[in-house]
Symmetry: C2
Subunit: 227 residues, 2 copies
DNA sequence: TAGTTATTTTAGCATTTCCTAATTCACCTG
DNA sequence: CAGGTGAATTAGGAAATGCTAAAATAACTA
C-alpha cells in the first residue's frame, strides 16, 4: 500500500522564500541571505532563521556564510508557485480586465490560496498559455520551464534586429511607462545607437524611435531576429 | 487631515471566527464557545483565547459563560467575508465549471486572499448576482443582506405549494444527493404527506415524487407560493 | 438545596514568523 | 598578516494561533 502523498503543504511564508530563492539563484548558483532579505522585505536574521528550517526540511541547501540553493524538491515547489502566479496573471488580464501593471499584486496573494484544480481550469480556459503578460515563460504542470536565449537591450549590438520577448520587472510605474512607449512583448525593434558611459540605447520601432535609459534597457529581454 | 483608513486588515483566523459567529448568532442572540469551536474544528480553549482578543479589538462582545455577539464593526467584517465567499461561489460555478457541491472549499480559501477590486469585477462580470448557487443571498457592497421569510420543508404544512429557495448545507455528499433528486433552488414542490415521529416528508415535484428524511428536509428552505 | 454534569475559562506550552542587539565570520587592504 | 568592514549568524523576545490539563462556573436534577 503505497501512500502517494504529494509534498506536504507549505506555509505562505515558505512559498515566498522558495520563490525568492529561485529567482535569486537562477543566474548564479547561490542566493545570499541579504538578497533574500531585501527581496522579501524582512530582516537578515529572519532569513537566517527560515533558512535553518528550510534546510532541515530538505527544501534548500545551506552553505553557511555563502548562501542557499534549492534542492530538487525545493525547485519543484518554487516552479509550482511560479506557474500559479503566471497563470493567474494571464487569467486576470485576459478575463477580468486587469492591466499588466496591476496584476502582479493580486496574483501574489492568490497564488497561495488557489487549488491545483483551479489553476488548471484557468489554464485550460485560456488555451494553456506559455507566457505571462510580461513575456515570462509559464512552467508546465510537470515543472519544466523554457530557458530562452535572450539578450538584454542594454547589451544588444548596435544595428541588431530584435524582438522584445520579456520585461523583467513587476513595478507598476515602470510597466505603465513601457506600455506607453510601445515597449511590450512581441514588438520588433532595431538598435540604432548607444551613448557611451552606460548611456541610453536608441531603438527604432514601427511606431517611431525611442531612447531607453540603461536601467530600463536592462529589463528588456530580446531575441535576436536574423539580420 | 482625516485619515480615512478602512478597518485594519484582519488575519485569516479572525475572518473565519467572525464568519462562524455571524452564522451561529444569526438565529438566537449569542454564539456559544463550544459551538464556535465545533464549527471551526478547534478546541474550546482556543476559542476562549481568540474571543478575548476579538473583544479587545471591538469586533465582538463577550458575556463570560454566556457567549458572544458581533459588534456593528464585526458584523460589517463578517458580511464582507460572506459577500466574498458567495460571489466566488457563483463565479467559480458559472465561469470555471465548478459544481455546487465542490465550490465551497475553493471559495473558503480564496475569500481570504482576493482583493475588493477582484470581487467587484467578478460580481460585475456575472451581472451582480443576488444569490449564490445554494440560494443564499449575497450581501451588497454596502453590507446589506436580504432577510427572506422562509420555512424549512420539515415544518411546512401538508398541502402547501412551495418554491425551494435555499439549501442550508455545504456538505458535498448531501448536495450531490439533493441535486440528483432535483431538489435545487428554484424548483416548485407541493407537500403531500409527513410521517409521524419526525418522519420523512413526501413532496411532489414536476419530475415526480420524493421522500425527504427529516435531516434533509430541515435544510430545504422554501417560500410559500400561494395556494 | 445539594450534588453532579457539562461548559467555559485559565494556566502553561509549542510552533511559526518576525524583530533588534550582539556576536562571529570571511574577505580585502594596507 | 593584522585590522577593519560588511555580511551572516546567534541570542533573546514578541505576537498570533493552536493544544492539553486543571480549575471555575452555570445549570440541571434529585
Amino acid at each position: 500500500m503505497h501512500a502517494v502523498l504529494g509534498e506536504p503543504p507549505l506555509t505562505r511564508s515558505v512559498e515566498d522564500y522558495l520563490k525568492a530563492i529561485y529567482h535569486l539563484s537562477s543566474q548564479g548558483g547561490f542566493a545570499a541571505t541579504s538578497d533574500i532579505a531585501a527581496s522579501l522585505e524582512v530582516s537578515a536574521p529572519s532569513v537566517s532563521g527560515m533558512v535553518k528550517r528550510l534546510s532541515e526540511t530538505g527544501l534548500i541547501e545551506h552553505v553557511p556564510y555563502r548562501g542557499v540553493q534549492l534542492t530538487a524538491q525545493g525547485r519543484r515547489a518554487a516552479l509550482k508557485m511560479i506557474r500559479r502566479h503566471r497563470v493567474l496573471e494571464v487569467y486576470l488580464t485576459q478575463t477580468l480586465g486587469y492591466d499588466w501593471d496591476g496584476v502582479h499584486e493580486e496574483a501574489d496573494r492568490l497564488e497561495h490560496a488557489v487549488s491545483d484544480t483551479l489553476i488548471e481550469r484557468m489554464a485550460h480556459a485560456l488555451g494553456d498559455p506559455r507566457y505571462d503578460p510580461h513575456g515570462a515563460p509559464i512552467p508546465t504542470v510537470e515543472g519544466e520551464i523554457e530557458e530562452a536565449d535572450l539578450v538584454s537591450l542594454a547589451d544588444a549590438k548596435i544595428g541588431a534586429s530584435l524582438e522584445l520577448r520579456q520585461v523583467g520587472t513587476e513595478d507598476p510605474a515602470r510597466l505603465r511607462y513601457l506600455a506607453e512607449q510601445g515597449l511590450v512583448p512581441g514588438v520588433s525593434l532595431r538598435v540604432t545607437e548607444r551613448q557611451p558611459f552606460n548611456g541610453p540605447t536608441l531603438v527604432s520601432l514601427e511606431r517611431g524611435t525611442r531612447i531607453v535609459g540603461r536601467e530600463l534597457a536592462q529589463l528588456l529581454w530580446c531575441r535576436v531576429s536574423g539580420s
